[in-house]
Subunit: 221 residues, 2 copies
């Protein structure tokens, strides 16, 4: 395979990863909307989006493996393609966490609210923004952006702790809310995992960039 | 690189993955022991094992990438090596879940028991056995073994549900136990994720084997 053809295929793969990330963002946002609006149809729609995400994962992995097999790329491109395979896998798992949130939404939709939802939508916004930026950082090979995203993980963890503490007070005061409050805590844990996986994507980007720098220096020396 | 050399390197890589899996098993078992015995030193030892696991992950990935770069393996070997990279990543994450359990153990060690631990050690045993068998299935390229392991995931989910229901009754009756019961529920969720990741390892093994069969048939036809 000639270089120009390889570059085209690589840029196509990056576009597909961005599309998949956008699909996963839609999935998470819809799961949170379903939770907020108690909308069962919206929650079930999340499962349909997840099926598409699963198909995209297989397609992207096949394409990346084929590129490695046919082009036998040099070290830096090989690293990038293997990073793409790992990140693709992470995106699929993020989709699964969105499905878990939709399942919590279905369990809660017929029940009275424990409390108005304030922190969970905010936490979701942060996690989705981290996901988006982590993919941008990877596709553009921009480790400085990825480092900024990693730092935002602490904010997400702080909100998670706050959600837990506030819900704990409701559970203590009204034990009949325990089941419902637990579902909300589970939602927050899924959002935490989404932010963690976005952090993994950033770490992979930084790892690839640093390996390139180290290799570059070694070649210069 | 000649074929004999490649085969030796591949078998060395498999051995390292098995060693890493054994290390991760030790880590999980020790986290559960720390929880049972309320032993803080044992819990902190889990973090030290996790550092070793993190080092092993980097080493295995580097070795697998180097094998791809130097040997430019044929389709089936390439698929196996990419599977090894993904599974290596899963093992590292399983280690992180063990660390989460050890952190729960540290939080609970100075506090009275909510109830005697019965289901959590059983759930841990099942999850660790799934992990062990999932790696054996992968290294031996034995998809029938991997299929059996996948089926055991339902048992783990059943115990997780039972743990939740039993702890819910304690929380309802004695709201002062809610904080501690929540930690135990978190332990069970981490064990659930470990079993899920073992299931992923099996699915990867099955996927690789089926791709080989499909390819084999296509070549025969």
């Amino acid at each position: 395979m000639e270089q120009r053809h390889f570059d085209k295929e690589l840029s196509d793969l990056k576009q597909k990863l961005l599309l998949m990330a956008a699909k996963v963002e839609t999935l998470i946002n819809q799961a949170i909307e379903a939770l907020k609006r108690k909308d069962d149809a919206l929650a079930r729609g999340v499962m349909a989006i997840d099926k598409e995400v699963d198909r995209m994962e297989i397609e992207i992995e096949e394409q990346a493996v084929a590129l490695i097999a046919l082009h036998q790329p040099a070290a830096a491109d090989l690293r990038f393609l293997i990073g793409a395979i790992k990140i693709n896998n992470d995106l699929e798992r993020i989709g699964d966490h969105g499905v878990n949130i939709a399942q919590c939404a279905l369990k809660l939709s017929g029940l009275p609210d424990v409390k108005p939802l304030i922190d969970i939508p905010r936490m979701a916004q942060l996690a989705v923004a981290m996901l988006k930026d982590s993919l941008d950082g990877f596709v553009r090979s921009d480790p400085s952006k990825s480092k900024q995203v990693c730092e935002r993980d602490d904010q997400v963890d702080d909100i998670k702790d706050q959600i837990f503490r506030v819900l704990l007070t409701y559970m203590m005061e009204k034990p009949e809310t325990i089941g419902r409050a637990m579902e909300l805590i589970l939602v927050s844990r899924n959002l935490e995992r989404i932010a963690d996986l976005a952090t993994n994507i950033c770490e992979e980007t930084i790892y690839i960039a640093e390996a390139r720098i180290i290799k570059h220096h070694a070649e210069e020396g």
